[in-house]
């Protein structure tokens, strides 16, 4: 008998509430796409914003709404792109190559002097408001770590010499630091490319560069002459190596009068 009442009570309550909810739910149907949640689960969840949307959820919504590309999550890379494509039922797109941030300045504190002493907020943007920055070279890294601060993946750190160091393992090539650097010294490049590059961004004339930095490119064109592949051009007194032509022969490294040409993958990386 007791068993019976129990069944009736719970069953009755279930019926009453279930019925109420069923009626209510019928009148207030809300469209939901389960794929948003699924994709959101796949994403790294750092809410870094590299995709151009204000967070992972937003990106997922836009992917489902076909407003964002499945490969949009840069930190996620190829794997996540594939998974998203699977959820969305489309063919996989996106590049295979692992990319990392690269810093194009070698002007550490000891080789690229300051023109005056700066006291105040330790932030590159803040420091630039004073006479265009305290560094004598007006293209060089100020070394106050605004880029390191901006990295959502803890992949950039300031070295003892005042230059940032990229942690290649952690770097996801999200590009936040590229935007953070007020001197545009960071770029995203293939992690494993085998070519040489010139870690300098100074467009000053050679004479000026020699005054303000020991490791700046003077645009002397010695490397241009040395390169058997014609992969190097000098524009605005700055040598640029075309990585598609470079065969990594190393002639330019020997030719460079300031010995600043390096293997691309070996600069500023931990």
């Amino acid at each position: 008998m007791e068993l019976f009442t129990a069944l009736i009570v719970i069953g009755g309550m279930g019926l009453v509430f279930g019925g109420l909810l069923a009626v209510a739910a019928k009148h207030f149907a809300v469209e939901e796409d389960a794929r948003v949640e699924t994709i959101c689960d796949l994403l790294p969840g750092a809410n870094c914003g590299a995709c151009g949307f204000p967070g992972c959820i937003s990106f997922a919504e836009n992917v489902v709404g076909l407003k964002a590309d499945a490969s949009g999550c840069i930190p996620g890379g190829k794997d996540i792109c594939d998974s998203i494509c699977k959820v969305m039922g489309i063919d996989s797109v996106g590049s295979e190559v692992k990319k990392v941030a690269e810093i194009s300045c070698l002007g550490s504190r000891d080789v690229a002097p300051d023109k005056f002493e700066y006291h105040g907020v330790r932030d590159c943007n803040a420091a630039l408001a004073f006479s265009g920055g305290f560094k004598a070279c007006k293209y060089g890294c100020l070394g106050l770590g605004t880029c390191a601060e901006s990295c959502p993946f803890d992949a950039l750190h300031m070295g003892d010499n005042g230059l940032p160091i990229v942690d290649r393992e952690r770097c996801t090539a999200c590009g936040i630091c590229v935007k953070a650097c007020p001197r545009d010294l960071i770029r995203i490049a293939d992690a494993d490319r085998t070519c040489k590059y010139v870690p300098c961004n100074s467009k000053d004339k050679g004479k000026v560069v020699r005054e303000v930095c020991e490791v700046g490119c003077t645009g002397c064109k010695a490397c241009v002459k040395a390169c058997p592949q014609d992969a190097i051009v000098v524009e605005d007194s700055l040598a640029v190596i075309d990585s598609s032509k470079c065969d990594n022969c190393g002639e330019c490294v020997d030719a460079c009068r300031r010995s600043i040409i390096k293997d691309a993958a070996k600069v500023h990386h931990a």
């Binding site: 002493e117 700066y118 105040g120 305290f134």
Partner: protein, 310 residues
């Protein structure tokens, strides 16, 4: 002139005052209180103060990995303040743990100086009260014996429990109680020094003491009002604990509310609660409300009213 010019944002003048100098001022303000404690309770009080201060400084030096033991002086202040709210002669390990907790949990867990939400010294004491109530907040307390440095401990109930001490005894401090709270005279001297140096605002102690006094009136007239102000930790709390810059509101109105709240809660606990003293709880509680008080009492900006009328 061989060095490079210095460039910085305006202003280019800075006041000579810094955190270190403020902390030294607070230590100076605590000196008469400490002196009185040694005078009343003898070497045991001195030992308690030294242990608390040293442990606080060592804890901070370890956490910050700094060789400079004194640092900016804030740890010493925390340690000494903790000693002030402990009995004259608790077991040494109680002092050590309390001091380490005060600096470690009360202060550095929240990000170090300037960032703590609660008064570190009181966090230390609160933890001790809950953990070893009998050692730090029991029913019997060491009786002060001036100029007697070797005497054995004689115990008695606190004036808050008996309500029988004379007002003069309370003012001079010849009553039992926490190490630093008995002598109103010494506390007032310290408070005046802090006020003179501009480190405390009259609003917090003012509102605190005023409310304690008013509630005391209900407990038994003018004398009882004074009694409530002088007995127990009200003066120590109002002048040294509630006025802690980091954990009290920054706005003028906020300071009044803060002080008033402390006084109110103290008296509620004293008159109705199961604890004889409520200063510590009231200040900790108001500490937690500080961010909200600050946000609700933003000062009226220059010229703001006129804009609304226009």
């Amino acid at each position: 002139m061989d060095k490079k010019l210095v460039v910085s944002s305006s202003p280019h003048l800075k006041s000579p005052e810094n955190i270190h100098s403020i902390m030294v001022d607070v230590l100076v303000a605590l000196f008469p209180v400490a002196l009185m404690a040694v005078f009343l309770f003898g070497y045991r009080a001195l030992a308690t103060m030294v242990i608390a201060t040293l442990v606080a400084m060592i804890t901070e030096a370890i956490i910050l990995r700094k060789g400079n033991l004194f640092g900016d002086g804030s740890a010493a202040v925390t340690g000494l303040l903790l000693a002030m709210v402990l009995p004259p002669a608790p077991p040494w390990w109680v002092v050590v743990i309390g001091s380490a907790v005060a600096v470690g949990i009360g202060k550095h867990l929240f990000g170090g100086i300037g960032n703590n939400i609660f008064n570190p010294a009181l966090v230390g004491r609160a933890v001790l009260v809950v953990s070893w109530g009998a050692h730090v907040a029991g029913d019997v307390w060491m009786r002060p014996v001036p100029f007697n440095f070797t005497a054995d401990i004689v115990t008695e109930a606190t004036p808050l429990a008996t309500k029988a001490a004379s007002l003069l005894d309370l003012f001079i401090g010849t009553v039992s109680g926490s190490l630093g709270e008995t002598s109103a005279l010494a506390l007032i001297i310290g408070g005046i020094w802090l006020y003179y140096r501009g480190h405390i605002d009259w609003r917090i102690p003012g509102a605190f003491i005023a409310l304690v006094f008013v509630f005391g009136l209900f407990d038994g007239g003018f004398n009882m009002g004074l009694y409530h102000v002088l007995a127990g930790g009200v003066l120590l709390g109002a002048l040294f604990m509630a006025t802690d810059m980091v954990t009290s509101p920054v706005t003028s109105v906020g300071k009044l509310i803060f002080g008033g709240g402390c006084g109110l809660i103290t008296m509620i606990i004293r008159l109705f609660g199961s604890y004889p003293e409520g200063v510590m709880f009231s200040i900790l509680l108001m500490n937690s409300l500080t961010p909200i008080i600050d946000n609700l009492t933003l000062p009226k900006r220059f010229g703001e009213v006129k804009q609304k009328n226009a």
